[in-house]
C-alpha cells in the first residue's frame, strides 16, 4: 500500500496489467521515452521495451484505427489520446468501428481496447484542452465509458477496462490528477497524499465497470456526479448543510441504474452535476432515467448543474466551471420545493 497521485495509480494500473499479460501494449503521442505529457506512462518503455510502449505519429484516427486492428489480432492495446479534445479525428474508428465489430461479425472479431484521455477543465486549458466529451461516447452502443474520481478507483477501473473484452473509453479528469478539487480554486490544493482515496495497493486489483459508488450517504437529496464534480458536490453539501447522498457514477455506460434508482426513491430529490455542456449532455439522459423510474417518488423537479453551452472560455474559467456555489444553489432550490 502506498500513497499515490492519480497519475501514479494509472501508471501502476498499466504496469500491473502489462506484467500479467504480454498482450497489453501502450502507445500514443509522447507516451514512449518521455512518458506522456501528464507522465502517466513514465517508465513503461524502460521496463517493457519499445515494442510494448512506444510513441505514435500525431494522428488520432491512426492511433485508434491501428489499435482496433491490434485488438482484432488478439492484443489488448491501451492507447492514450493526449487530450480528450483531440479524440475527434479518431471518433469514426470508435463510433463506426470499435463499437460494432463484435456485433457485425457475430463475435468472430472483437476489440478489447482501452482509449485513455485526460478530460475536463480547471487547469486554464482554454477551449482545446478542457472539454468533457463523455456524452458523445455514451451515445454509442457497443462501447463502455468510464470516468474515475480518485487514485484507488482509477487504477482498479483501468485494470478492469484493460481486461474487459469490449472497447472502453477511459476519461481521466485532469484536474484530479494531483489532488481532489472541490471547485474552490482560490484555496490551496490538497494533494492525494493527504487524502484517504490516495491510498493505493501496489498489486493488481480491479474495480468493476458499471458499478457506482456512494461517495457520501444522505437522506434529503441525491446528487448524481462523476469525476471532478464529485468533490464539488461534497463541498456544496457541506457548505449548505443539506443532507445530500452523493453518487459517484464511475462508469456512465453501462450505467448503474439500480443504485441511482434506489437512492432517488429514498431521498425523493435529485440534482445532476457535470462539467460538460448542458444540451444533450449526459445529465439529460440521467434526468430521463430518473423520471422514468422514480417519477412518483419525486418531491421536486430535478435540477441540472452543468457547464454552459459555450466553448470553454479561457479567461472565464471559473464563471464557466460549475463550482460549489452553483451546486449549493441547486441544492437549496430543490429542498425549498414543496
Amino acid at each position: 500500500m502506498a500513497r499515490m497521485t492519480m497519475i501514479q495509480s494509472i501508471r501502476s494500473g498499466m504496469e500491473n496489467a502489462m506484467e500479467r499479460d504480454d498482450n497489453v501494449i501502450v502507445f500514443g503521442e509522447d507516451v514512449g521515452f518521455f512518458g506522456g505529457v501528464f507522465r502517466c506512462t513514465q517508465g513503461l518503455q524502460e521496463k517493457f521495451g519499445p515494442q510494448r510502449c512506444f510513441d505514435s505519429p500525431i494522428n488520432e484516427s491512426g492511433i485508434i484505427g491501428a489499435a482496433v486492428g491490434m485488438a482484432a489480432y488478439g492484443l489488448r492495446p491501451c492507447v492514450e489520446i493526449q487530450f480528450a479534445d483531440y479524440v475527434y479525428p479518431g471518433y469514426d474508428q470508435i463510433a463506426s468501428e470499435a463499437s460494432r465489430i463484435r456485433y457485425r461479425s457475430k463475435n468472430d472479431f472483437t476489440v478489447p481496447m482501452v482509449v485513455r484521455m485526460p478530460t475536463g477543465g480547471g487547469i486554464f486549458g482554454g477551449q482545446t484542452h478542457s472539454q468533457s466529451p463523455e456524452a458523445l461516447f455514451a451515445h454509442i452502443s457497443g462501447i463502455k465509458t468510464v470516468i474515475p474520481s480518485n487514485p484507488y478507483d482509477a487504477k482498479g477501473l483501468l485494470i478492469a477496462a484493460i481486461e474487459d473484452d469490449d472497447p472502453v473509453m477511459f476519461l481521466e479528469p485532469k484536474r484530479l490528477y494531483n489532488g481532489p478539487f472541490d471547485g474552490h480554486h482560490d484555496r490551496p490544493v490538497t494533494p492525494w497524499s493527504k487524502h484517504e482515496l490516495g491510498e493505493v495497493p501496489d498489486d493488481h486489483y480491479t474495480v468493476p465497470l458499471g458499478k457506482a459508488a456512494i461517495q457520501r450517504e444522505g437522506a434529503d437529496v441525491t446528487i448524481l456526479a462523476y469525476g471532478t464534480m464529485v468533490y464539488v458536490a461534497e463541498a456544496a453539501a457541506q457548505e449548505t448543510g443539506v443532507d445530500a447522498e452523493i453518487i459517484d457514477l464511475r462508469t456512465i455506460l453501462p450505467l448503474d441504474m439500480e443504485t441511482i434508482e434506489a437512492s432517488v426513491r429514498k431521498t425523493g430529490r435529485c440534482v445532476i452535476v457535470h462539467e460538460a455542456t448542458k444540451t444533450c449532455g449526459f445529465g439529460a439522459e440521467l434526468m430521463s432515467i430518473v423520471m422514468e423510474a422514480c417519477f412518483y417518488h419525486l418531491e421536486a423537479p430535478i435540477i441540472r448543474v452543468t457547464g454552459y453551452d459555450t466553448p470553454y472560455p479561457h479567461a472565464h474559467e471559473w464563471e464557466y466551471f460549475p463550482g460549489p456555489k452553483r451546486v449549493g444553489d441547486a441544492l437549496r432550490k430543490v429542498m425549498e420545493a414543496a
Binding site: N23, I25, Q51, R52, S56, P57, N59, S61, G62, G65, A66, A67, V68, G69, M70, A72, Y73, G74, L75, P89, D92, Q93, S96, E97, I101, R102, Y103, R104, S105, K106, N107, D108, F109, T110, S141, G142, K144, D165, D166, G210, L253, P254, L255, M257, E258
Partner: protein
C-alpha cells in the same frame, strides 16, 4: 519594402474542377492512355528501397501479351494447373455475381455489388497469401472468399439475411466476415479498414509471429484521411502489410481524377512515405499474382509495407442502387484498353495448349450449375423478402460480451 496591395489589374481567381474525358453521348477513346508492353517492367529484389523503383509507381506491370503469352521477369510463377484454378475462381465470382444480381432484381434481397471486370485482383491476390494471414477488404473483394473453401451457400445466406445467415441478419448484403478464411468483417464505411490492417500487421510483428495483413481500398476512398493514417503508420513501423488500391476508375459517379488530383498515379502516393509502390495491370491474373506475391514475400521477410495500385475498370454499376448510364458512356467499358481478365487468362491457357474453348464452356457451365444449386440450398433457408430470419431477440445479442441492464430492459420492452 512596400507591402503588396491589391490593384485593378489583378486577375480574378477561379476554381478548377476536374472532369472525366467522356460523358454520356461521347464516344470513349482511350488511345492516349499509355499501356506499357507486357514484360517490360523489371522485377526488383524484395528488399529494395522505394526510391530505387520509382518508375514502377508510374508504369503498369503486365505479364500477358496480346498473343496470350506470359513474358518478362514477372512471368512463370504459376503452373498451368494453378492457372486453371485461378480461371475457375474468376468464373465462380462472375457466376456468383450474376446470380446474386438477379436475386436482388427479383426482390429476394435489398442490395448487391458485383466485381464484374475486376475478378482477377482478389482471386489472384488470395493465392499469394498463407492461411493465418488477414485481409481487410472493401465491399468488392468477394473473390478473396470465393477463392478459398468458404461455403458459397453461407455467402448467399448472408446476402439473403435468412435464418442461416452467419451474421444473424445484422449486416447489409455482401458484408461478409470470416476470421478462419482471413477475411476481416466488412464495414461499409470507407477506408477505416485500411489503417486497421496496418494495426493488425503491427500486432503480428509485436508478437514475433509470421503472419501478414493485406489492406484494401478503392481509388475514390484513397482521399480519406484513414488512407494517409495507414501509410504513415505502415511506413513508420515498417508494418508487414500489403496496401492494395483497386483503381477501377469510378467512385460511384465520380471519376478517379477527383481523388487523385494532380498526381500522375495513386501508386505514387506511396513514394512520399518511402513505401515501395507498384502499379499493376489488374486485369492480368498473372501480373496481379506476381506483384502480390512479391509484396507478400517482402512483408513476410520483414522488409515492411508495399503499396500496390491495381489498374482495372468497374464494368458494372457501383451497386444495384446505381445506374452508370447517367454519368458515363455505355460503351466505355468496351473501349477500356485492358480487356477482360477471364478472357485473357483463358486465351493464355489456350495459347499454352492446356485449355480449349470447349473445355472453357464446360467449366463455365459446371460452375454456373454449382452456383445455381447453392442458391437453391440458400433459398431453403429463406430470403430477405420472404424470411425466415434470425429471431428478433437476437438483435440485442453481441452488442457487448455480456448484456448490460439497459439492453436487457429494452429487450423486455420490445417483447421479443
Amino acid at each position: 519594402m512596400s507591402p503588396d496591395k491589391p490593384t485593378s489589374d489583378d486577375q480574378a481567381l477561379s476554381l478548377y474542377v476536374p472532369e472525366p474525358e467522356f460523358r454520356p453521348g461521347d464516344t470513349p477513346d482511350f488511345s492516349d492512355v499509355p499501356i506499357p508492353k507486357a514484360g517490360a517492367a523489371p522485377r526488383p529484389e524484395i528488399d529494395v528501397e522505394a526510391g530505387d523503383i520509382r518508375d514502377l509507381a508510374y508504369t503498369i506491370i503486365r505479364v500477358l501479351n496480346r498473343d496470350g503469352k506470359a513474358v518478362g521477369p514477372w512471368a512463370d510463377l504459376l503452373s498451368d494447373d494453378q492457372l486453371k484454378v485461378g480461371l475457375e475462381d474468376m468464373l465462380r465470382v462472375r457466376a456468383f455475381d450474376a446470380r446474386m444480381l438477379m436475386a436482388q432484381r427479383q426482390g429476394k434481397t435489398s442490395f448487391y455489388m458485383q466485381a464484374l471486370g475486376e475478378e482477377a485482383i482478389a482471386c489472384a491476390f488470395q493465392k499469394a497469401l498463407r492461411p493465418g494471414d488477414m485481409n481487410f477488404p472493401t465491399y468488392r473483394q468477394q473473390g478473396l472468399l470465393l477463392s478459398t473453401d468458404y461455403p458459397v451457400v453461407d455467402m448467399m445466406n448472408q446476402i439473403y439475411s435468412n435464418a442461416a445467415d452467419p451474421l444473424k441478419g445484422r449486416q447489409l448484403p455482401i458484408m461478409y466476415t470470416s476470421k478462419e478464411n482471413g477475411f476481416f468483417t466488412i464495414s461499409g464505411n470507407l477506408a477505416t479498414q485500411f489503417i486497421q490492417g496496418v494495426g493488425w500487421a503491427m500486432a503480428s510483428a509485436i508478437k514475433g509471429d509470421t503472419k501478414i495483413a493485406a489492406s484494401w481500398i478503392g481509388d475514390g476512398s484513397t482521399a480519406e484521411s484513414d488512407f494517409h493514417s495507414a501509410l504513415v503508420f505502415a511506413s513508420t513501423y515498417r508494418a508487414p502489410v500489403v496496401l492494395n488500391i483497386v483503381n477501377n476508375q469510378w467512385a460511384i459517379s465520380t471519376f478517379q481524377g477527383i481523388a487523385r488530383g494532380k498526381a500522375a498515379t495513386f501508386a505514387s502516393r506511396g513514394l512520399g512515405f518511402g513505401i515501395p509502390a507498384l502499379r499493376v495491370d489488374g486485369n492480368d491474373y498473372l501480373a496481379v499474382y506476381a506483384v502480390s506475391k512479391w509484396a507478400v514475400e517482402r512483408a513476410r521477410a520483414g522488409h515492411g509495407p508495399t503499396l500496390i495500385e491495381h489498374v482495372t475498370y468497374r464494368v458494372g454499376g457501383h451497386s444495384t442502387s446505381d445506374d452508370p448510364s447517367a454519368y458515363r458512356p455505355k460503351e466505355e467499358s468496351n473501349a477500356w484498353p485492358l480487356g477482360d481478365p477471364i478472357e485473357r487468362l483463358k486465351n493464355h491457357l489456350i495459347a499454352n495448349g492446356v485449355w480449349s474453348p470447349a473445355q472453357h464452356v464446360q467449366a463455365r457451365e459446371r460452375i454456373e450449375i454449382e452456383i445455381a444449386e447453392a442458391q437453391k440450398l440458400a433459398e431453403k433457408n429463406g430470403t430477405l423478402h420472404d424470411g425466415p430470419h434470425s429471431t428478433p431477440a437476437s438483435m440485442f445479442d453481441d452488442v457487448y460480451k455480456d448484456m448490460p441492464l439497459h439492453l436487457r430492459r429494452q429487450r423486455q420492452e420490445a417483447g421479443v
